[in-house]
Symmetry: C2
Subunit: 198 residues, 2 copies
């Protein structure tokens, strides 16, 4: 079923019309995943609270799940351009921060605030099997709640997170004959035992 | 300068017109980065050599640099939907593989094949400062070479890479009061010492 959300027609997330954002999610992520939709409202909240000092910011996602795609769809940050970094902390939270000094804001889902949004709470804590939850009702509640289920706090990133690491030259691995970063040693990390292949 | 590549007009990468792919790169990645363009031809090569047994595949990038964006722009795999995984091996290589059995193909840049493509070689090994290299000449050579600088080999992924890990419930961290995956222990990984914030 294609839901129509008349109340959303004029609403925006990070200057993108909500309907356009949902279409982007379908095209990029494959489905209108609740986590990416909620993630969009989290990015929007963070954006509106960025320190005014400058416009160049990087992004950090504290989970690999859904949230990175919301960031990639609504900001200039992507995993491949290096402006989005991901830490596998399993927390549904993100930060936007000044890439020069690490000052920024962190937005997270606040479990206490989920008490007023039972569909979101049920989905977020996986209290029901996925097939028993009505996706349209859930999405409607996310579009209603927007960032009301979130907390926001100023943060300062550790320098080792936001300082870019430039590659210091390349070597040819004597085992696989491929190029690898010279600082990794005599042979590449895959041939040193980290290969993902059998 | 906006280069025009008349020879490319009818060429495609993964069924996408090359000019359309380059536009997608500019929109998503922020610039027509050589690594994403070359990555597109690598994805294209891998696609054409996928085992015929099924159409559902996942992707693995062996670097965080550029290549993940080529994968995200040309396949259904994204970092947020979990179908793209990234290992920080520092190798410009990717695999597409059957998500059920791990059988697939790996495409990599073959240093020996760069001998015939000096602009690509200079860029790939950073033999010149970026500002001294002519981006348009480099991109022209990448569009000419396509996947001629690559090798391809069948691979089988280790099960721990392609077996999806489902979250086994959530706990509330007693320190930050946020939700975290229950298997991580009594408190979340950030409060256990992995926080990226000062």
């Amino acid at each position: 079923m294609q839901m129509d959300y008349p109340r959303l027609r004029k609403k925006r997330v990070c200057s993108v019309a909500v309907e356009e954002f949902v279409q982007r999610i379908k095209d990029f992520h494959g489905a209108p995943a609740p986590g990416v939709v909620l993630g969009g409202y989290m990015v929007d909240l963070a954006y509106r609270h960025l320190p005014p000092e400058g416009s160049l910011f990087d992004a950090l996602s504290e989970t690999f799940s859904c949230l990175p795609d919301a960031i990639q769809l609504l900001t200039p940050c992507s995993i491949g351009n290096g402006w989005l970094k991901i830490l596998d902390l399993g927390k549904f939270a993100l930060s936007l921060y000044n890439k020069n000094n690490g000052n920024g804001v962190r937005v997270f889902v606040d479990p206490e605030k989920l008490a007023s949004f039972l569909e979101i709470k049920t989905w977020f804590f996986k209290l029901k099997p996925k097939k028993e939850q009505d996706l349209d009702v859930l999405l409607e509640e996310i579009h209603t709640a927007r960032s009301q289920v979130c907390g926001i706090t100023p943060v300062k990133l550790r320098p080792e997170i936001f300082t870019s690491r430039r590659r210091a030259g390349f070597s040819i691995c004597p085992i696989c004959r491929e190029s690898h970063p010279a600082p990794d040693g005599n042979c590449c990390r895959a041939c040193s035992g980290e290969t993902p292949y059998l």
